[in-house]
């Protein structure tokens, strides 16, 4: 099962193994990773599962689609590597993915 490393805004790390096909959002909420709220449960409707993809991985996670990109413009503290974690599916290709979490989402 692919490994995902979540790094919270205070630097603490959580490593979780999740089944391929799981969204990055579920990887966080199923394992109680603080810093991903996911209020809408993955409908790309709330913008509360915002995260930053480590620059080494952005090519493999791909780019946000138009809806997600519009949402991301108005999340707190957006960066060029901002994504909504509900829109990324974990796969073997993403084994070792490093994700940072914003300080606004607690």
């Amino acid at each position: 099962m692919p490994l995902v490393i979540f790094i919270s805004h205070d630097g603490s790390e959580r490593e979780v193994h999740v089944a391929s096909g799981t969204t990055l959002m579920h990887a966080a909420t199923d394992n109680g990773v603080a810093g991903i709220l996911a209020d809408c449960g993955g409908a790309c409707s709330c913008g509360t599962c915002h995260c930053y993809i480590d620059e080494n991985w952005t090519a493999r996670t791909g780019a946000a689609d138009d809806v997600e990109a519009q949402m991301l413009e108005f999340v707190m503290d957006p960066q060029s590597n901002s994504r909504l974690s509900c829109q990324i599916t974990v796969s073997d290709e993403l084994d070792g993915l490093v994700v940072r979490l914003p300080k606004s989402q607690i």
Binding site: D39, C46, V67, E73
Partner: protein, 407 residues
């Protein structure tokens, strides 16, 4: 572990958040969540959408997997209904006669559907849509080519209509008022949804007075007061919900269109908090008491309630927001439009499928209904949270970036 025991009644959205927030907030006593359904707390919004359409399995609906509660030391007492609350002795009783003492109690009992008790209401094939079990039963009656009559042109009714059209069913929506979504949106938005549902092949009948339901065992026909007869293989009724306040009322807690709570989610008993659809609470942004039916309110108020139980009083101060997915329409709503005296539209609600309707009362921006306009939704949610208004003249001018319209 401490000897204290927090019991959360109702395995809802609010319960999932409350339990999690209690642990995060340092509650080291026991936590139990008592719910009358078989599943741990699950996401309800997909019920009328992806789950009804068969695109999601029930496991995918869970807010957190069962293992999460185990790891967090939160006991799930499922398939169990709380039948009594003895505040003097601080004990709840269960339907099977068991009883559990509590130190602190949280009521997250949600809401129950409003029943339509017209002649024929007890036939087979007539459903409400509130919980997973409802939809599992509905799924036994759906199928391409079958006819569905949906009573109620609110969000639940329209989402159900969209999901059933996707499945190739013939769908008629009956709305008692002159327009769909009348209680919650402006005429422009109602007209938009009527148009799109028409384009997608749904028949909408407004000013419909449903008189009776007919069939031999199972429903086959819906009759309206004006003599109209509609064929129906199933009927789904979505005519609103009522807060589930029976337990609170029976225990003598203050109830007034919901369980009355203060800004810290406390009921009239200091050891009992309440959160979510079942509460009547004060909203400082709109300066009035509200009862909201939404995930946002369930989650945010649950955090307040958990803080209170952990001894940290943080007032509930959140901007309400909602969403509704139908066909290719992503509707996102920020704020509450009730009391508006003016609506301005950015984009066109009359053509295409992308616009935002902004609601004003005087100079004050109250809310936005954003259809396939996530940027407008997100921007307005932030602006309203910050107490900002907007310039209507700039809002209607699409050459002006949304963030430059706020005042």
């Amino acid at each position: 572990m401490g000897s204290e025991h927090a019991i959360i009644v109702g395995a809802s959205h609010a319960a999932a958040q409350l339990g999690t927030s209690l642990r995060q907030g340092g509650w080291d006593g026991k936590i139990s969540v008592v719910g009358n359904e078989a599943l741990p707390p699950y996401h309800r919004p997909p019920l009328s959408k992806a789950y009804l359409a068969g695109e999601k399995h029930s496991d995918e609906l869970l807010i957190r997997p069962a293992a999460f509660y185990e790891k967090s030391n939160i006991d799930l007492v499922l398939g169990s209904r709380v039948s009594g609350l003895d505040r003097k002795n601080k004990v709840i009783t269960l339907h099977d006669g068991g009883s559990i003492p509590y130190t602190k109690l949280a009521l997250t009992t949600g809401a129950s559907v409003r029943k339509l008790l017209i002649p024929g209401h007890d036939l087979e094939g007539i459903f409400y849509l509130r919980d997973l079990n409802d939809v599992n039963r509905i799924r036994g009656f759906i199928g391409a080519g079958k006819s569905a009559v949906i009573i109620g042109g609110g969000y639940i009714g329209l989402e159900t209509a969209a999901s059933m059209r996707k499945l190739g069913m013939k769908v008629t929506v009956l709305e008692a008022l002159p327009r769909v979504l009348q209680r919650v949106t402006a005429p422009e938005v109602s007209a938009f949804y009527s148009r799109v549902h028409g384009e997608e092949g749904v028949d909408i009948i407004t000013d419909a007075v449903v008189e009776s339901l007919h069939g031999n065992g199972a429903v086959a026909e819906v009759k309206l007061a004006d003599g109209t007869s509609l064929k129906a293989d199933l009927v789904v009724i979505g005519v609103g919900v009522l807060p589930a306040t029976e337990l609170a009322a029976s225990a003598g807690l203050e109830v007034d269109n919901g369980i009355v709570v203060d800004e810290f989610a406390r009921t009239s008993d200091p050891d009992i908090v309440a959160a979510g659809d079942c509460t009547n609470h004060y909203n400082p942004i709109y300066n009035r008491r509200l009862r909201l039916e939404s995930v946002q309110n369930a989650t945010d108020q649950a955090k307040t309630a958990a803080n209170t139980l952990c001894g940290t009083l943080v007032p509930y101060h959140a901007l309400p927001w909602f969403w509704s997915d139908q066909y290719d329409l992503k509707l996102q709503i920020a704020g509450l439009s009730q009391g508006f005296d003016r609506v301005v539209v950015r984009g066109s609600s009359e053509r295409g499928r992308s616009f935002a309707a902004f609601y004003f009362c005087g100079d004050r921006l109250l809310a936005v209904d954003a259809v396939n306009r996530p940027k407008e939704f997100m921007a307005v949610r932030r602006a309203l949270t910050a107490g900002q208004s907007a310039d209507p003249a700039k809002l209607v001018d699409e050459t002006i970036e949304i963030q430059l319209t706020f005042l």
